[in-house]
Symmetry: C2
Subunit: 465 residues, 2 copies
């Protein structure tokens, strides 16, 4: 079904971006105040803390900015706050994907200020979620608000999709997106995260890896037995070790049959643009106390591995006695948690099938295999006109060439928009190299926040042309 | 240095065993009372509970029975209670190895009666340690007491060595035994455990497997990191999986170089005597809810594997996140606990060296290897005259041919007596097939206890001849 387009008569109108910039500068203090208010509202999805209150606040802020809003809910999960403004002068639509939920603030003792105080110090706003993702959301909202205040109109139609479960893997998002195909139609989208690097260069991300999380369980006897019985009684811990060994070899090669089948090799232009990425690999090794990266890679080679390599990771495993000293026990069960990071065009469903089949082929049909969450990888081509447009807009505001990541090592529900709804997506934001997202003392520089707001205004303006 | 022999003039004396039997029957109730008293005294070595009190009570009981006693202590560990009676009429010496410590009684809710109540019901005494090993100790003491009461003398010299750390692997025993070579010299010894099978046949055990307990630790980064970093950051859980895989293959073959080097193959007469062992393998599989034993063995073949095969067992392992659901984490450490059950003539020290060397050769020099306790295997030949003598004494009392286990699947400090002090050792006792040793509702049939006392009296009498 084709989605109905904005039927309004298009009025040719001129939007002087300078006026919007001036408005942003004038209102900077008020914008910060609004962001602090949002940061003060806890919204920890992992604990279900403050979710409804935060969704309500987000909706209020959207309305105050002149958007019409709507709450989207699925059969379960936290509400999605949708907002939109129709342009009188354009048929083009830009969508912003954001989330109002935040990571848990723990460990609390490592915070300089209360994580939900929104404390302002040293030109920064401190608080859990201030960069990831409340600051980005507010910068976008304020840019839109700016156009509406100054011109009573926008150069493009704008849509906001602000979900509440990003930090727990967006487990309930798919049916919501699929049920609102027309509502969420757009010509391009800006994803939730991004910022500037140590040199003040804007960073843009064109994709996310997919992920598949599974658990394998091996069972032995009905109960733990004395290890004297080891010549006779199957040991599930050994079963698990051998099964895992059949999944990945010591040289880090994933052995699942056809695992690498749909891996799209990186294009020369993608590899080329890695050269511009300031990857501080030695610093990373030093911080983590490791001498070498896997396979001894470093520099560009390491960055390429980080972004383009699919992985199979043991997240955790347990069996039997793990206390102090020794215990002569033969355990009756063993469990391992694994995640697979997938790159375009691997599909989690297919990888899961291949995993099940491989374990069976290798003689491990006795293992129980539990599938947890999964998301597909998603990527927008580096030469997509929208990527060029975003990069140029960023350069205008930041005065430096954008650093483009063809893919990010992380994961998220981008594929629902990129693969299902089908438009180009770039992730960009107003974070900084010391924003401490997901860590104690998360913060956002006020200057970065205001600049980020101008960047979005510029992008809105440029996208219309 | 040769140990000085008993220098007393040997007086030829006749010991009418019938009189000792009558005394035992007459005193049965008093014997039970004394055993109950000992059971009521908790002595949980794993928790250090009641140890000193129990050692004191054991020494008192020995003195009351007419033994001279001595407390043997090492630099650390629980006291060993030593007792002896010199015979006026024999230079031969029989030593009894026992232990006064018991397993923890947990889980308490599964006991019908308080585990330290010594409750008598259904012709049985209930209590933690009543069979393992307090009942056996008291039966031996009472047999000796019987001779002394009836004749004022014993047919042989008798020594008791009653330690307090058997249930935690006798970690401090070696220096004590080595420091008292002469005191502990003997012509033969009776080990702590044994009993009758479902058909009332006495069971004798001629040896114990050795054991070596180790822990392997793998380290990665200084802290857990996001699993998005998996293409670069070493994962200690994977390291451990691959190291373990290098130790044992899926077909249960231990891959450590020269691991099987000193394994003494079982003799035809040993294999032959397995045929008399009522090994209820189908019942065992049913109880444990497993369809097959490892490698599909059953019956005699399974029994042979159980007794003569060395093993490498994962007792427990842990790494990373093991809670509910999934967590995209890359752990920074991983740990596995292993035990090796060893058969004659494997030596734990050699096996440890081979393990270290093998891991190094296989490229796992990064693993930390921690050695916990170890004991050597020990075995008395099936055709040793003492074995024949014990078997005949048992047949006289129980009216059925003894079932001889050339080796037991369990472990213990027997090697200190068998290998270091050099005399033949047989393990025999008064337990039954439903004694529940190491389990809730441990009990000892009063009839079995009294019969066991007569068996020891018979053995003392026969050993003199």
């Amino acid at each position: 079904m084709a989605c109905p387009k904005n039927r309004l008569m298009v009025v040719v109108m001129s939007f002087d971006l300078g006026k919007v910039y001036s408005y942003i500068d004038e209102q900077a203090e008020a914008f910060v105040k609004d962001l602090v208010k949002l940061v003060k509202q806890p919204s920890v999805s992992a604990k279900g803390e403050g979710i409804v209150e935060c969704a309500k606040l987000v909706e209020e802020m959207m309305r105050d900015a002149g958007l019409s809003t709507k709450i989207l809910t699925g059969q379960k999960g936290n509400p999605v706050v949708y907002g939109e403004v129709k342009s009188k002068s354009s048929r083009k639509t830009l969508l912003f994907y954001d989330h109002y939920d935040v990571q848990p603030p723990e460990p609390l003792e490592k915070w300089k200020y209360d994580p939900f105080s929104g404390k302002i110090a040293e030109g920064k706003i401190y608080g859990r979620g201030v960069t990831d993702n409340k600051g980005n959301f507010v910068s976008r909202l304020k840019a839109v608000h700016g156009f509406l205040e100054v011109f009573g109109d926008l150069p493009v139609n704008v849509k906001f999709f602000v979900e509440g479960e990003e930090e727990i893997g967006s487990p309930n998002l798919e049916p919501i997106v699929k049920a609102h195909k027309c509502l969420l139609s757009a010509d391009a989208a800006i994803w939730e995260f991004g910022g500037t690097d140590r040199h003040g260069r804007p960073e843009l991300y064109l994709g996310l890896k997919g992920v598949l999380s599974v658990e394998l369980r091996a069972k032995g006897a009905l109960k733990d037995v004395h290890s004297a019985n080891a010549p006779l009684i199957p040991n599930p811990a050994w079963r698990l070790v051998w099964a895992l060994n059949a999944l990945k070899s010591k040289d880090e090669k994933i052995l699942i049959k056809d695992f690498y089948e749909n891996v799209r090799s990186s294009l020369p232009e993608e590899t080329e643009c890695l050269k511009n990425i300031p990857f501080e690999d030695e610093e990373m090794r030093k911080e983590l106390g490791i001498k070498y990266f896997l396979k001894g890679v470093s520099g560009l080679e390491a960055l390429k591995a980080l972004l383009f390599q699919p992985t199979c990771t043991i997240n955790g495993l347990i069996s039997g006695y793990t206390g102090k000293g020794s215990k002569t026990v033969l355990p009756h069960e063993a469990m391992v948690k694994l995640d697979f990071r997938l790159v375009p065009d691997q599909k989690p469903e297919e990888i899961f099938e291949k995993l099940v089949c491989h374990l069976k082929t290798c003689g491990f049909e006795d293992l129980e295999i539990i599938k947890y969450g999964s998301t597909e990888p998603a990527k927008t081509p580096i030469n997509d006109p929208f990527v060029v447009l975003v990069a140029e807009a960023a350069e205008k505001v930041y005065g430096k060439k954008a650093v483009i990541y063809p893919l990010s090592a992380g994961s998220g529900p981008m594929h629902l928009f990129r693969n299902f709804l089908g438009y180009p997506i770039v992730s960009a934001g107003c974070g900084g190299p010391e924003s401490n997202t997901h860590a104690p003392n998360e913060n956002l520089e006020i200057e970065g926040f205001i600049k980020g707001t101008k960047f979005i205004a510029t992008l809105i303006s440029d996208f219309a042309e």
